[in-house]
């Protein structure tokens, strides 16, 4: 499943422009590859992140994978309600929404982009669909 209302990265994050924020999560494909997501952590609110650099990581049973920032900017929200932890502050609740509803309630963080035009440089749903077909 690849929703049309957002953009994507080659590293399987999605980004969605909402007003002046970019909401970020991981794709359905990423979840399928990882298996059950058991822990998600991102840098603290207020941290500056650079496009293409790690902004956090996802743990599954056997793997730990970085989450790369789709745009440069400042982290302004972390989805604690979905069990996403801020760096160095572990959470008790399971990040089940991240595996079960990765495009909805399982979003991971929101970034205030430095340059909103970076967003339009991300992969379109069509490009991302092609990428997945090439990876098969």
């Amino acid at each position: 499943m690849i929703p049309d209302d957002r953009r994507y990265t080659k590293t399987h994050e999605w980004a969605k422009m909402e007003g002046d924020l970019v909401r970020v999560g991981i794709t359905d494909h990423a979840v399928e590859e990882l298996g059950d997501v058991t822990y998600v952590e991102v840098k603290r609110v207020g941290t500056r992140v650079a496009k293409g650099e790690p902004m956090g990581f996802v743990e599954s049973n056997k793997a730990v994978e970085d989450i790369y920032a789709p745009v440069s900017g400042e982290i302004v929200e972390v989805n604690a309600a979905a069990g996403v932890a801020e760096e160095g502050r572990e959470v008790e609740s399971a990040p089940d929404p991240v595996s079960e509803d990765p495009y909805g309630s399982g979003w991971i963080a929101a970034i205030r982009p430095d340059d909103p035009s970076e967003y339009s440089g991300l992969l379109s749903p069509e490009d991302y669909r092609k990428l997945l077909e090439e990876e098969k």
Binding site: D36, T38, Y39, N61, K62, G88
Partner: protein, 369 residues
């Protein structure tokens, strides 16, 4: 090219995702490995373990050979099984295996998938120094199938399909020759259950489908790894290798130093006299993050005292768990350490295994699932 399990079609029908493991193309998971794990702890799960090596050792010298080639005392009475280790001449572990006594002069050795070829050539090598005769070694792995049914409802499930003549006690084996089956009350999950070798591979596939139709949860290698970790069982190649001796791997129970002679005994005597410097321990995290292989284990002062060899999130206890080797001074249960990996430190505690409450889970449980 990876070897294919004879049950591949069954797994495809059940929607499995596959992975390569030990040279085999095997089911990784069917849906959620965490749910598969919980099904085994609470009811019953079924695993294709056809990748495990099955080597038939027979002849008048079979028992004497296995006693010489491996570390534990090998029983002679049909119906027994024994966990035993192949060691190298330096006392390092070449593989950990189950020897099953089918008849007075016929054994089946179940070996790790990735070790199969190594062990078969090692057996050839050991034969030369053994000095005995009357030994036949046949690798039956690719002509047979093997399935594990595990969990508090496993025994009942298998009995409903196969009937009554199955081993009634833990660690026993029944050779149902007329039906082409070897059924042992063994496993790698900490739970009760059976492992079944099918000499007719199609029957293995039929059995798997029947068990699933009766409600057994199909489980892949991911759940199998979580289950064995929760039970505190080491995985060869990950938690031990040829550099590890049985004392530091905490597998003394699989070594019979009273035996007259066996490969590696001399080296182990020296090691025993010297005492061990490090030991395999269970590590329980304080949160959901798991220690990961390669993480360094540090004391509160920042001194490095060990290394992590495996880790996963445990759905049964809801925390990250793992195994590793630590210096003896840091191996006492209750010792607090931190596990340092590429993404920072987490707090872990050295604990006894199994990680779960044995009154509630595992084959010794008091409460029935």
């Amino acid at each position: 090219m990876a070897l294919r399990t004879p049950l591949e079609e069954v797994h495809r029908d059940l929607g499995a995702r596959f992975t390569e493991f030990g040279g085999w193309f095997m089911p990784l998971r069917y849906s959620s490995a965490l749910r598969e794990t919980i099904a085994v702890r609470e009811a019953v799960g079924i695993f294709d373990v056809s990748h495990m090596g099955r080597i038939v050792i027979s002849g008048g010298g079979a028992r004497s050979f296995l006693n010489y080639a491996t570390s534990n005392s090998i029983p002679g009475r049909p119906g027994r099984t024994r966990y035993t280790l192949f060691l190298n001449n330096l006392g390092g572990i070449k593989d950990d295996d189950i020897a099953m006594v089918l008849e007075d002069t016929k054994y089946i050795l179940v070996v790790n998938a990735a070790s199969r070829e190594k062990i078969i050539s090692w057996i050839d090598e050991v034969r030369e120094s053994w000095g005995g005769s009357e030994l036949s070694v046949e690798d039956e792995t690719e002509e047979t199938a093997m399935v594990a049914v595990q969990g508090p409802k496993a025994v009942q499930t298998v009995r409903e399909i196969l009937g009554e003549n199955l081993p009634g006690r833990k660690f026993r084996v029944a050779h149902l020759e007329d039906r082409g089956l070897v059924v042992s009350r063994t496993g790698y999950t900490g739970e009760d259950g059976y492992e079944i070798i099918f000499f007719d591979q199609d029957e293995g596939a039929t059995f798997f489908r029947e068990a699933v139709a009766m409600g057994a949860q199909p489980c892949g290698l991911e759940a199998r790894d979580i289950l064995r970790l929760e039970a505190g069982l080491p995985l060869y190649g990950e938690d031990m290798n040829e550099e590890t001796d049985p004392f530091e791997a905490d597998l003394e129970f699989a070594v019979d130093m009273e035996k007259e002679d066996f490969i590696g005994k001399e080296a182990l005597e020296k090691k025993r006299d010297r005492g061990r410097e490090k030991k395999r321990v269970g590590l329980r995290a304080t949160g959901r993050r798991a220690p990961r292989p390669g993480d360094r284990l540090l004391t509160g002062d920042g001194e490095e005292v060990g290394i992590v060899t495996s880790g996963a999130f445990s759905p049964t206890i809801g925390l990250g768990i793992g195994m590793g080797y630590v210096q003896i001074e840091s191996s006492r249960p209750g010792t607090r350490l931190s596990s340092l990996g590429p993404r920072g430190k987490i707090s872990v505690e050295v604990v006894e295994t199994p990680f779960y409450d044995q009154d509630r889970y595992g084959w010794k449980r008091k409460v029935q699932g």
